[in-house]
């Protein structure tokens, strides 16, 4: 009985079952997304009678109104600023700490590392009230940094672990040779470690960015001024204002998740690698 032949037989019930199963799951994933995209092109009346199908009459106005509104761009700008700040803070602070943990042996290093990894154990929400008071006392309430600093702090543990593992894999002979030649650790970090670590920096940067871009709770607690709101806060307010004008809300949702989807398509390798990184670690 040849296996290769059996698998390629014209009718294979398990194969058929598999295809049907995958198709059903794919439909369940895709339909809400497409209905959102197309819903933004419909009028409210059409949405009610035809929520699934293609628009019979394409209402470009819904999207155009949002794209030409200052509000939409302001939300994206705020999100971009907060996310960029968070990514920059995380990469700088975490890579420096990871370098120290990877290359320098000192008394208490493993203890300090376990101290940092405590951050993996509980969500930011547990301490969000004291965090609010701390940020207020520091005078950072209602500023971009009031959101970016805690976000970077809570992403630190994972970032340090990922970076440290990568830094450790840089051949030790390289460091030895540089030190023998009189290169300092800091120069080695700047001119050897960082350039060699671009893939992992991109991965950590991308997941930090996505997490910060999507975050809701911290900005909700730390920001009071509409002008500073990132898009998840803005879209909730938008939904409150246009509570049942679903065609507008759907257009707004589509336009706000578009950047995420584009980023995902461009950087899917880094995103998948970064978000499933916990699985590979020992």
């Amino acid at each position: 009985m040849s296996n290769a032949k059996a698998i390629r037989a014209p009718f294979d019930p398990t194969m058929l079952f598999k295809m049907v199963f995958l198709a059903v799951v794919a439909i369940i994933v895709v339909v809400p997304l497409l209905a959102t995209l197309f819903g933004g092109f419909k009028s409210l009346g059409e949405l009610r009678v035809n929520p699934f199908g293609l628009p019979r009459h394409w209402e470009w106005q819904n999207y155009a109104d949002i794209l030409f509104s200052a509000r939409y761009w302001q939300l994206l700008r705020n999100s971009l600023i907060i996310s960029t700040l968070t990514v920059a803070l995380t990469l700088i602070v975490a890579s420096m700490a990871a370098f120290t943990f990877a290359h320098i042996r000192f008394y208490g290093s493993s203890m300090l590392l376990s101290y940092l990894t405590l951050g993996l154990l509980f969500p930011a929400a547990t301490a969000v009230l004291p965090l609010f008071i701390k940020v207020r006392d520091l005078g950072l309430l209602d500023t971009y940094f009031g959101v970016a600093l805690p976000q970077a702090a809570f992403g630190l543990a994972m970032s340090v672990l990922l970076l440290r593992r990568f830094f450790k894999d840089i051949p030790y002979e390289l460091l030895e040779a540089a030190l023998v030649d009189g290169c300092s650790y800091i120069k080695f970090f700047r001119y050897v470690t960082l350039p060699l670590s671009r893939p992992i920096l991109a991965t950590v940067g991308t997941i930090t960015f996505v997490n910060s871009w999507n975050a809701y709770l911290l900005p909700l607690v730390m920001l009071n001024t509409d002008a500073l709101y990132p898009w998840p806060l803005g879209i909730m307010i938008y939904q409150g204002e246009y509570s049942s004008e679903w065609h507008l809300i759907l257009a707004f949702i589509t336009l706000t998740i578009l950047p995420t989807i584009i980023l995902f398509l461009l950087a899917q390798k880094h995103i998948v690698a970064g978000l499933t990184a916990g699985a590979v670690k020992g």
Partner: protein, 315 residues
């Protein structure tokens, strides 16, 4: 000394082959190591201590007060806040809902993710595209996902309503009923997170030692026997990890609930964090909210340590 160091580092980076006297080696590497320790470590430790560790400690302190967050906390009430939390019906509902989320993750999401991973780990046309498609809900913002599904569930305009109407039935308002709100939230959770777990399993399957599977096949094991006795046991570490993520994820679920139900109606779909938000943060009841936070913290840490000890000892 400074001059020596400068020339030395130039030789390391730029002009290779330039002779450097070896005597300078011990000097720079020694104190540059100290410089690194002094410069590189404190920012991370400071950031982490200030915004992660201290707030947890302060939560424990604040939880002893009846305090609205203004001025200094003075009204010490001991453990009363904890008693108030435990006496709130909504707290137990939230805890039950977190339990439900975990149960659904284990009973539905995990088998689904594993099945899909086994199907998509093989190579065929479209497998990679399907993987990416199934992973996509995971990277969408929880807020956007919640809003999309509040449209899907909408009793007037939504997809569910339209299906109901095509059967001539009166469309239900799923999110507005205490009986169905949590069920509706659970469906969205599976929709959003199964792709993440699937990716975990695919990554594990691709790292699997193929020779074991082949050996079993040569020894005459059928496909399903190989699956049951070889592949699944090899995946146990990943399954344990996936369960760990599902439970930790359920304990911090908040963003998804807000656009769907805000924890309502009548607290029927609160999670621990949305309960904390609705009762502590939005009313600035710092002591009460901190007590909820401390309870949640205790649950998370106890769980993480026991789980690590019992199930993930080998990793």
């Amino acid at each position: 000394m400074t001059v020596a160091r400068r020339t030395a580092s130039v030789s390391a980076i730029g002009a290779a082959g330039e002779m450097v006297p070896r005597v300078t080696v011990r000097g720079p590497s020694w104190d540059s190591r100290l410089t690194v320790l002094v410069l590189f470590l404190p920012p991370a430790l400071l950031l982490f201590t200030l915004f992660v560790v201290l707030p947890i400690g302060e939560a424990a302190w604040y939880s002893g007060f009846n305090w609205n967050g203004f001025g200094r906390p003075t009204n010490w009430i001991g453990l009363d806040n904890y008693r108030f939390v435990l006496e709130t019906r909504a707290f137990w509902l939230a805890l039950r809902n977190n339990g439900l989320i975990i149960a659904v993750s284990l009973a539905i999401q995990l088998p689904l993710a594993l099945t899909l991973a086994l199907m998509l780990a093989e190579r065929f046309r479209g497998a990679v595209a399907l993987r990416m498609l199934f992973f996509m809900p995971y990277i969408l913002a929880e807020i956007a996902t919640g809003l999309i599904f509040s449209f899907v569930y909408d009793g007037d305009y939504g997809l569910v309503a339209s299906i109901w109407r095509s059967f001539g039935a009166e469309p239900p308002h799923l999110l507005a009923s205490t009986d169905t709100a949590m069920l509706a939230v659970l469906i969205v959770i599976v929709w959003k997170y199964f792709g993440f777990h699937m990716m975990l399993f695919i990554a594990a399957l691709q790292g699997l030692d193929k020779s074991l599977v082949e050996a079993a096949r040569i020894d005459g094991a059928t496909r399903s026997q190989v699956l049951r006795h070889v592949v699944i046991p090899l995946l146990y570490p990943t399954i344990r990890l996936s369960v760990f993520f599902a439970i930790v994820g359920s304990l911090q679920l908040f963003d998804l609930v807000m656009p769907l139900t805000r924890g309502g109606p009548a607290d029927s779909s609160n999670t621990m964090v949305s309960f904390l938000y609705n009762n502590g943060i939005s009313r600035m009841r710092v002591g009460y909210g901190s007590a909820i936070g401390v309870i949640l913290f205790a649950i998370c840490v106890t769980f993480a340590f026991t789980y690590k000890r019992w199930f993930m000892r080998d990793e």
